[in-house]
Each structure stands twice: as C-alpha cells, then as structure tokens.
C-alpha cells in the first residue's frame, strides 16, 4: 500500500516536472496569407507553404494558409488568421506590405512576418521583415553564364526597375565580370511581370545582338524569354525557383530564392522564443536561403561546378562583396582588373 502510494506520488511528481516542458513545447500556430499567385503558384507562395509544412513535420507546428484572389483580399485574410488565434502570421510577398503594416498596428500584441519586404527603421516591434540576398545567388548564376557563353555576350531582362530586381541584375553582372571581365551584358526592362510576348521580343533582340545566355528576373515575362531561347537553341538562366522544367535543354541554371528555408528558419527561432520583432532579417547563401538550382548539375560541366563551389565558400566567408545596387556595382567594377 505504502509502496503504491510512493509510486503514485512519484509518478505525480514526474508528470508535474514534465508539465512545464510540455506547455513550452505546445505547438505554435502559424498561418500564412498568399498573394494573388495562390498557394500552388509554382513560385514563392508554394515555396512558402512547403516551408510551413516542413515546420509542421519537423517542429510540430500547427500550420494553415489563406489564399488571396486579389490585392483587396489581404486585410480580410490577415484578419481571418488573427481571429483564428495564430501565434505568428506570415504575409507572402512585397505586395502585402501595406496590409501587414496596418494589421500589425491594429493588433500590437499579434506577431507578424513578411517575405520580401523591409520596413527599415519604421518596422513595428511586432513585425519581422525577411529579405533575401538575391545578389548572392545571381552572382553564381552570372559566373556560370559567363563561363558557358561562347559569344562573350549575355543578356539580362528585368521586370521593373525596383530594388529587388536590381539585386538580381547587379549580382548577375558582378558574377559575370568576375568570371570574365571582358564580358558584355545587355540589359533591358520589360516594365511588366506578365507580358510574355514582350519578354520574347526582348530576348529575340538580345539573341540577335549576339547574346547566347539570357537571365530574366521578370516573373511570367520569363516564359517568353525562355521560349525565345528554346526556339533558337541558346541558353537561359531562370529565377526564383528551378525553372529547368520549362526548357530542359536550355535552362542551364536558376538563381533561386529558398523562401521555404527562410520561413523554416524564422519559425524555428520563433518556437525557441527568439522573435526578432522590429527588424529585418537578411538571408543569403550561408543560410541556404538563396542558391543556384539543383538542376545546374545536368547542364554545367563538373569542372565549372567545382569553381562555383569554391566561390560559394568565398562568399559565405565574406571574401567577395557582392553589389546589389548600381552604385555598389560601379565601385565593384573598379576593383576588377
């Protein structure tokens, strides 16, 4: 009897001891709002959702998403996730910047995070901005493009002249010049993220001027760019995700944004109570948040891949400073001789 009592109380004590740790590990609820692309956009929304699903599998978080059909849906979707008592709410994409900011001000106790946007010094204390050092991935892609080019001329097609696209542009140029400082890079903006015909026209013009590798950072305009390259059997460099499937014989590499890894990192920190509210986190090569596509091994000779791996190490170690703006690029170009 007594032994039984002792055992019982022991069990009680044990469970009491483990209780606090259980309550600490209670699954955090994480929700995300997609932008108009939807959760299966085969681009960053999908990647974001894959990241959240990984947190569910590996960290035990409870995850959910709300899809936006139009820009006007953002505030309502953020509100829905707020009402569902999520611990952290994600806005996916810079288009949601205003909606997330407004929601964060209305609900100061709710934690928010946004992909691809920085509020700079004005970041509210309950918001984290997540930015990507896209220039690091683009640098590697530019290096590969310059080494693969036979004509010594490359092309860059940007969607719009905004900072996010500049980081691709100047990272790519810097990488190309790093490989071959005589390389010529043609640059043109499509002023659209949807007009595939314009992308095709610009790419055709660049190919006509002797470019044989064309890199695009222009969303759906890139469909036209890759199509032009496919028709003329030249080379293209994809963006954001592994775009090799669009033209398996022509897309030699892609400058990828691993939104999934970035989200996973932030959620992991959040679970551990390390939420860096009021700031913007910049993820790069060393966090595996930007990279070149896995399919690069299909098209690029292994000798070149080894060089790329070495450069990657240099970048992670901070030995190469990669420009993300025109100004930074100009001073970078002066260091090359």
């Amino acid at each position: 009897m007594r032994i039984k009592n002792v055992l019982c109380s022991l069990a009680l004590i044990c469970s009491a001891l483990t209780l606090p740790s259980i309550s600490l590990a209670a699954p955090q609820k994480i929700g995300m709002v997609t932008d108009v692309g939807g959760v299966n956009d085969q681009s960053f929304n999908q990647s974001a959702w894959e990241g959240l699903q990984r947190t569910k599998k590996e960290l035990g978080n409870k995850v959910s998403y709300q899809e936006s059909k139009q820009d006007a849906d953002y505030p309502a979707n953020l509100e829905t996730l707020f009402d569902a008592k999520n611990d952290l709410i994600w806005g996916i994409g810079f288009k949601m910047a205003d909606a997330v900011l407004l929601a964060a001000k209305q609900n100061p106790k709710q934690k928010y995070a946004i992909i691809d946007y920085s509020y700079g010094a004005k970041t509210p204390p309950n918001v984290v901005g997540v930015m990507f050092k896209a220039e690091e991935g683009a640098f590697l892609a530019g290096y590969i493009a310059a080494k693969m080019s036979k004509t010594g001329t490359l092309g860059f097609i940007g969607g719009m002249s905004v900072p996010i696209i500049h980081s691709f542009q100047y990272g790519f140029k810097a990488g190309a010049k790093y490989a071959n400082h005589k390389i010529n890079v043609l640059e043109q903006y499509s002023e659209s993220f949807t007009d595939a015909a314009k992308g095709k026209a610009i790419a055709n013009q660049m190919l006509g001027k002797g470019a044989d590798v064309v890199f695009h950072a222009a969303g759906a305009v890139g469909d036209g760019v890759i199509e032009a390259v496919k028709e003329k059997d030249k080379m293209a460099v994809g963006v954001d995700r592994d775009q090799n499937y669009l033209a398996p014989k022509n897309v030699i590499t892609s400058s990828m944004k691993r939104v999934d890894n970035a989200i996973f990192n932030v959620v992991k920190d959040f679970n551990e109570g390390k939420f860096k509210g009021g700031s913007t986190i910049e993820y790069g090569l060393k966090d595996n948040a930007v990279d070149i596509a896995p399919s690069t091994t299909k098209m690029v000779p292994s000798v070149l891949l080894e060089e790329v791996a070495k450069i990657k190490k240099l970048i992670v170690a901070g030995k190469i400073k990669i420009p993300s703006t025109e100004k930074a690029y100009e001073s970078y170009a002066k260091t090359l001789k």
């Binding site: 299966n40 043609l186 015909a197 013009q205 759906a220 033209a247």
Partner: protein, 289 residues
C-alpha cells in the same frame, strides 16, 4: 536589315492574338451585342488549347479546342444578352471573371493543383513557316474571310442588319436573335483562338496571367478600326508595331530613355491617333440594345 526583320516579326507576333480577338469583337458588335468578355474568353481558350495540346500531342487539335473553349463561355454571354436581354456590359464583366476562374479551377484539377500547365516541346507547338508561326497567316486569312462575309454575302448583311436596325430586319423576316447568336458565338470562338495563339505559339504553356489586358486592347483595336475587319487588322498591327518599337528603342543602352516612359509609347500613340485622325466613330446603331 536585321532590325527591319526584327520589327516586322515582332509586330506580327504581338498583333496575332489581338487580330483574332479583335475580329471576334467585330463579329459580336456588328450583330448588336457588346462583348467586353473577350478577355475571359481568351483566357479560357488559352487554357483549353494548352490542355488539349498537352494531352493529345496535336497543336492543331489544341488550337481548335481553344476556339471552342472561348465559344463555350460565349454561350453564357449570348443567352444573357439575347434571350434574357440582360445588361451586356455586366454580363461581359462576369464572363471575364468566369473565364479566369474556370481556367484556374480546371488547371488545378487536371495538373495536380498547379495553376500553370507544363510546357510543350518545340515540335508539339504550332508549326513555323518562313520564320513565322502558322497562326500569323491564319489571322490574316480569317480577316479576309470576315471581310468577304461582310461585304460579299447575304449572311454578312443580315448580321449587320441585326446590329443596325433590328426592328427593320425583323420586319423583313430576318431572325435577329439567330444572327446575334451567330455573332456572339463566333466572337467567342475567335477570342478562344486568340488565346490559343498565345499559349501554343508565343509561349508554350498557360498561366493565369498569360492573358492580361490583350482582350481589352483587342476591343480598343476594334473601335480604332471602326468595327471594320480590315481596320481592326490594321489597328492590331499598329499596336504590335508600337510594342516592337518600344523593345527596339529600349535596346539602345546609350540612349538612357526611362523604360517606364518608353512602355507608355503604344498607348500614347494610340491616343494621338484617336484624337487627331479619327473623325467619327461608327458603332453599329443598335449596339447594346
């Protein structure tokens, strides 16, 4: 020489989907039914074309199916506008939302939740003749066909009478509704072909943003072309040419013209011509009634 060739082929590439769709607009509006749902019909047509081409491996079958995809949506517009005499603008707006929505809906069901279709191989696209896709030539042929119908056949005159003086036409024993149905359904078919010419020739896959404004530009080209098939063709070519010019001028890196400003060129040129050279628009007099 290569520059001229570039401008020429870019003009044709840009204009082709607009020509199909603009001609569709002509057919519908000549019969007296406003069709601002062209955008939605194009989108749905582009998706159906891509889907059929992928699943059957034949681009021509896909192209034709794209036409029927557009026609399918036009049925709703025709019934709402002709049978129930609903507001044609409202119905057109509904068709635009419906077209995109249905395309994404079926795309997700048919392609494992993806909102874009997988790309076609080069040899499974619309074939190329003399460095232009066959759809380019078809667009010109269809323009001729419609011009012929309107100027040389009784059928054309009956469609026009349904759009100009439906009461007089009815008094003369013409079944006005029948010709309006014909006009709207064929406009859907042509808009669908326009969508297909994008998803099977200009690019090789469908995505929801593939059609973003082309339907409305085609509509503007139709007005610009004074509801005349040849005029519409010229307006589409003009618009295509100004886009080609934007790309061409944008290629001079020493010029330092702001690309945002340059991108407005086609619209500014259109405005100038509309204001400066167009004396009087000649819409069918019973349009929208």
């Amino acid at each position: 020489m290569t520059e001229i060739l570039f401008l020429f082929s870019t003009t044709l590439m840009y204009a082709t989907p607009l020509i199909f769709t603009g001609l569709g607009g002509v057919l519908s509006e000549k019969s007296g039914v406003i069709n601002i749902g062209l955008e939605g019909m194009m989108t749905f047509g582009a998706f159906i074309a891509s889907w059929v081409a992928i699943s059957h491996g034949n681009p021509w079958l896909g192209f034709l199916a794209g036409g029927f995809g557009g026609l399918f949506l036009a049925i709703f517009h025709a019934i709402a506008s002709i049978k129930f005499k609903g507001n044609q603008v409202v119905s057109g707006i509904a068709i635009n939302s419906l077209g995109t929505g249905l395309a994404i809906f079926f795309c997700r069901i048919l392609f494992d939740g993806a909102s874009m279709t997988p790309p076609l191989d080069l040899e499974k696209k619309i074939p190329v003749f003399m460095s232009q896709y066959a759809t380019v030539y078809i667009a010109f042929f269809v323009t001729f066909l419609i011009w012929f119908i309107f100027t040389k056949t009784a059928l054309g005159l009956r469609i026009i009478s349904a759009g100009e003086h439906p009461k007089a036409a009815a008094a003369a024993g013409i079944n006005v509704s029948l010709y309006r149905y014909l006009g709207v359904l064929s406009s859907g078919f042509l808009a669908g072909l326009g969508g297909g010419s994008l998803s099977l020739a200009i690019v090789s896959n469908f995505r929801p943003t593939l059609i973003s404004g082309q339907g409305f530009i085609a509509l503007a080209a139709m007005i610009f072309g004074k509801w005349n098939p040849v005029g519409t063709l010229c307006a589409c070519l003009f618009f295509g040419f100004s886009q080609a010019l934007v790309v061409y001028i944008g290629g001079f890196e020493d010029l330092h013209i702001s690309s945002q400003l340059l991108a407005t060129l086609p619209y500014i040129l259109t405005l100038i011509i509309l204001v400066g050279f167009m004396k009087k628009t000649t819409a069918p007099s019973a349009l929208g009634q």
